[in-house]
């Protein structure tokens, strides 16, 4: 009994602690120097993580039967209340967000050193953590929507943190506007839900999902899906994420790699009992996830900004998660979310360390050969690269293999999807191999003798995340289904795709490892020993296709330019026309017409008001005469 009571309330603390920290830092902005800010924000983050870990342990002892806390009921009919829940799904996210928040804040104390808005950064950061926890811990769609919007806001604040740079300000706006498109869909989805279920509570909705027709569920799913596409940067709403790299690198690590962009995946897993009833929605999720995974992986192979490669890689990996959801492998999606959070945070922080040591140079063509100067960063980035490429026994292998196997297990058209996903996995290994080799190995002819290893406050988080990136995969292997046990309550009534058995699984695993290794080896051939310079390209007539691929990849298939031309310029022209025709002529015209009409008629009628009393007497007499005539002329009515 004691345990239940303590569990009930204590996890709320870890949600609101970052919020209180943000307020505390804001109030003492002028007073605190960097050291004091560090002291409060790091201790608060650690405490928050400790409470989260404790809650998770108690939850585990409770066999992952979740608790629901309704703080208060807002409206009784329809049933809308403010409440939080701690179950397997939100528990994982709670640990992930608070844990990574602490590690990344530790890194930030060094990265953001001597920034003029030092405390602002940590205020925004803590505010983001609070918003994200609001999103994941909510027990109903309303609080989730609050969190959903607030992470958008704090993401905007952090992307345009260096708002003196025009590119950063623009990128923040772009992210915000594109997210609006998704949020628009999310909001409409919520309205349809309220209309059909008369409540926002997850459990009431998900348990009553049989009462609503499949068409309605498909409609709800599609609108919510739009929201997920926006937040998780899926095709066609993905172009804000590469631009979002204008923000500080540690913020990118937490927001645009590990947590916020996975909100869409989280939300779809949350509504999985609903989603499983709609085949159309599932198919769409798979197809769009696949397009995103391939397109982003293709775009990553010829980027030169150290962070943009990682951004496209994030989009591509999120695509993998969407594929898993579409294939009904919800556990695999969450598994990949967790492993990806660790190795992508590691890669981003590594990139941050490199950028820091290179004095804010982000072009990887100007790096090269940094392995000797930055051994710890290089080895940890290497671990991250191997993990994301799916090399066993590192984390990425287990989750990616599970996704691939689940897609395969669906059969039918999913065999094609499986092959394409495998292709995306191969591309992943290729561009990540290229990324690492260009930064740390290949000699680009730049002198780097003045470059030193990053300070300890940076390398320690790297080491920590590196260890996790190696071992976190073991929480859910074919031999030990740990994550499935955690999520079993959430997915109680959900048909989860089961992995194929025996030899098929082994063959699939070998193929996925093969794709990873092949990608790395080809990357090594091109960028390690520079094969293309040793053979005569003219002879094989390969120069043109390679340049074409490079060009298309660098410009993301010209989708951004197309989007600008079609949506931005088109919309500008349209609004200009609307401004002239509808606003200028129709609306202004009608308003002006009414006023001039009144003006003119009143001018005419006011001439009767001469101000001469005797004229009025004449009117009076005339009307009296009229009345008498009418009185006489009207036939008497018999009563």
């Amino acid at each position: 009994m004691w345990q239940e009571v303590s569990l009930d309330f204590i996890f709320l603390l870890s949600i609101f602690l970052p919020f209180l920290t943000a307020i505390f830092l804001f109030l003492n902005k002028k007073l605190f120097n960097e050291l004091m800010t560090n002291f409060f924000t790091l201790n608060a983050a650690l405490l928050s993580f400790a409470i989260a870990a404790y809650s998770f342990v108690v939850l585990a002892l409770n066999k992952f039967n979740g608790v629901n806390i309704e703080l208060f009921q807002w409206i009784s009919n329809p049933d809308i209340s403010i409440g939080f829940t701690l179950d397997g799904l939100s528990g994982i996210m709670l640990i992930l967000v608070t844990g990574l928040s602490f590690v990344i804040q530790l890194f930030s104390t060094s990265y953001m050193e001597k920034d003029e808005n030092y405390s602002n950064y940590f205020i925004y950061f803590n505010f983001f953590v609070f918003s994200m926890l609001l999103l994941v811990m909510s027990s109903n769609f309303l609080v989730m929507f609050f969190g959903w919007e607030l992470v958008g806001l704090s993401s905007y604040l952090l992307i345009s943190f260096w708002s003196k740079k025009p590119a950063a300000a623009k990128a923040g706006n772009k992210a915000f506007v594109i997210n609006r498109v998704g949020d628009f869909g999310f909001l409409i989805g919520l309205m349809i839900i309220l209309d059909n279920f008369n409540t926002f509570d997850f459990y009431k909705i998900l348990n009553n999902s049989n009462e609503v027709s499949e068409n309605t569920i498909t409609l709800i799913s599609l609108f919510l899906l739009l929201g997920a596409f926006g937040k998780s940067a899926q095709f066609p709403l993905f172009s804000w994420l590469p631009d979002a790299m204008e923000g500080p690198t540690p913020a990118s690590a937490l927001i645009h790699a590990a947590t916020m962009v996975t909100a869409g995946v989280f939300m779809l897993v949350r509504i999985s009992p609903l989603l499983q009833h709609s085949n159309l929605a599932s198919l769409l999720i798979t197809v769009f996830g696949l397009i995103t995974a391939l397109l982003a992986a293709f775009s990553a192979i010829n980027q030169y900004d150290i962070k943009k490669v990682l951004a496209y890689s994030t989009i591509s990996q999120l695509g993998f998660m969407f594929i898993a959801i579409g294939a009904g492998a919800y556990v695999a999606a969450i598994f990949h979310l967790v492993t990806h959070a660790f190795f992508k945070a590691l890669l981003f922080l590594g990139a941050g360390a490199v950028i820091h040591s290179m004095h804010h140079e982000q072009d990887i063509r100007k790096m090269g050969g940094l392995r000797k100067q930055m051994p710890i960063t290089a080895s940890m980035m290497g671990v991250g690269t191997l993990a994301i490429s799916g090399i066993p026994p590192l984390a990425g292998f287990w989750s990616k293999d599970e996704i691939l196997a689940s897609v395969f297990a669906n059969g039918g058209i999913y065999y094609i999807f499986w092959a394409l996903t495998l292709g995306a996995a191969f591309l992943t290994a290729f561009y990540m191999g290229r990324h690492w080799l260009l930064i740390f190995e290949k000699d680009n002819g730049f002198e780097h003798s003045d470059i030193n290893e990053a300070p300890k406050a940076m390398t320690r988080p790297l080491l920590l995340l590196g260890i996790f990136s190696i071992f976190i995969g073991f929480i859910n292997t074919p031999f030990f289904h740990g994550l499935e046990k955690v999520l079993h309550v959430n997915l109680e009534n959900v048909e989860v795709t089961h992995l194929p058995e025996g030899i098929t699984l082994v063959v699939l695993a070998v193929l996925s490892i093969g794709a990873g290794f092949t990608g790395l080896i080809i990357a090594f051939l091109f960028f390690g020993i520079e094969l293309h310079k040793r053979i005569d390209l003219q002879k094989f007539k390969l120069e043109y296709p390679i340049n074409l691929i490079k060009d298309l990849s660098f410009n993301v298939l010209y989708l951004n330019k197309f989007g600008n031309l079609f949506f931005v310029s088109g919309m500008k022209n349209l609004t200009r026309k609307v401004a002239v025709v509808v606003d200028g002529m129709l609306i202004d015209g009608s308003v002006n017409f009414v006023s001039t009409a009144f003006n003119k008629t009143s001018k005419i009628t006011s001439t009767t008001q001469t101000g001469m009393v005797r004229n009025y007497v004449v009117y009076f007499g005339l009307f009296l005469l009229l009345l008498i005539v009418l009185f006489i002329a009207t036939p008497m009515v018999q009563s």
């Binding site: 009767t608 001469t610 101000g611 001469m612 009393v613 005797r614 007497v617 004449v618 007499g621």
Partner: protein, 110 residues
Amino acid sequence: MTRRKEIAMLEVTTDWYLSLAAILFTIGFLGMMIRKNALIMFMCIELMLNAVNLTFISASKHFGQIEGQVFVFFVLVVAAAEVVVGLAIIVSIFRKQSSASVDVLNVARG
């Protein structure tokens, strides 16, 4: 009998009173329209009111009902009050322009 009949023919009937009232009212109304002296106009109004009073009383007598005479009292009271206000206005007009012509007072024209 014949003499009585002649006397009856000369009797002043209600029509006579009504005709007188109509004549008085018309005189008052024409005065309102023609004269521009505020004082004269005021007297014309009084004339019209009394014409109406006469109509009320004769109708009351004709139909043998009391309501018409009650109305006359109301009209008299209103007229008395109106005289008070109206004379005050006329006095203030005099103070302002030293003539009682209403045609000069056309500031409220449209």
